[in-house]
Symmetry: C2
DNA sequence: GATTGTACGATACTTGCGGTATCGTAAGGA
DNA sequence: TCCTTACGATACCGCAAGTATCGTACAATC
């Protein structure tokens, strides 16, 4: 199974990802050319195209490979509190320069089916899994009802965040998160005092 | 006062809008070139650029000029029913080929500040006004509380729709509308039986 | 340690599109 | 009739995505 020929440079691979992340985060997807990324990485353009099929694929990988726990669910006293803290993290992430990355990829995905698929499967779905688990915990803890569709609920929770990211006038503050969460809980929360 | 020189051709203007709507609706924004639009309209490319600054502006105008009452609020017995019917209309509109138009413009707006402004002011805001009026009616009718922020509520209502339009696996059915509306009402609805 | 096969960086090239410039012609108000 | 501007057509420019090619640098195999 010994590989023949010169092996691919992991150094070049990593340098390209890092360069793409830096440039696109700073200037946006359209403003950065493939030449720019290759030059910033100190790499030939052909090396980039040997590792990825196109620019969007590079940026997608850069988002996934070099983003840490910015959108993870922290430990908390209750599932609802964990959800609350994650929502704040997500909003902070969107509001940061990294938000450009997500916006760029969503935009590009509108005309690139492969990218759209990758974005759903590799970015959205893992995060939705996290939300799903947390909601199930909240249900088990008795703080949410158990008669609603999880995926629809997730769309309602995060849809408004993405809406403001992509279309909003820019106001993605903590108050918005609290209002959204409160609205969510008042709709899906268990009502212990009410019978039937 | 009297215009001098040859007047602009309203025929060419309308033909360009119609061609842009047709082509972009069918094939998507990126797949259609300015040459395509001009050719389809039977017009020189320069005429197009004399009437609009760029491709995105043409498509934006096409969306506004040639779309009718597809997303209007119908008369109904109550404000909430009118809202419900409009949500169904909106979903049907998004699901139709016209959805491509909106998706294209949102995508383009991510890197075109002028278009983003135009999209917000000319497409989103008028529709939000309609929602706002309807929600105020519903409050006046006593079927919604009056202690919530209208704009946040609208984001929560329509955010999930745009989320599915832009990122969803395509499932934008009637059940989704009903679930979203129900969630909205359970959060913002007046609770006549409950005191304090 | 020579051979072999592939990746490497560099660079020239192709293609296609957005947008501009130019040209002779058409249209209408003055 | 004259004057000014828009018209359709077409050539052109600039730029970026993606391809092709070249001599070189590796590392496994012989």
């Amino acid at each position: 199974m010994g590989t023949i020929g010169r092996p691919r440079s992991q150094v070049a691979h990593a340098a390209i990802l890092k360069a793409a992340l830096r440039l696109v985060t700073k200037s946006g997807f359209r403003a950065v050319s493939v030449n720019d990324i290759a030059a910033e990485a100190g790499v030939g353009k052909m090396t980039l195209y040997r590792h990825w099929p196109n620019k969007a694929a590079v940026v997608m990988d850069a988002l996934l490979a070099l983003i840490g726990e910015e959108t993870a669910f922290p430990e908390a006293a209750s599932a609802l509190e964990s959800l609350q803290q994650q929502l704040h993290r997500q909003v902070r992430f969107f509001r940061s320069a990294r938000g450009n990355l997500v916006r760029s990829l969503v935009a590009e995905a509108q005309t690139d089916r492969a990218l759209a698929k990758a974005f759903r499967e590799r970015w959205l779905e893992p995060r939705r899994q996290g939300v799903r688990r947390t909601l199930e915990c909240a249900i088990a803890e008795g703080s949410l009802r158990n008669d609603f569709d999880l995926d629809t609920a997730i769309d309602q929770l995060y849809g408004s965040l993405y809406y403001r990211l992509l279309l909003g006038s820019g106001v993605m503050d903590e108050r918005f998160v609290e209002a959204t969460l409160q609205q969510f809980v008042s709709g899906h929360g268990a009502k212990p005092k009410t019978r039937k």
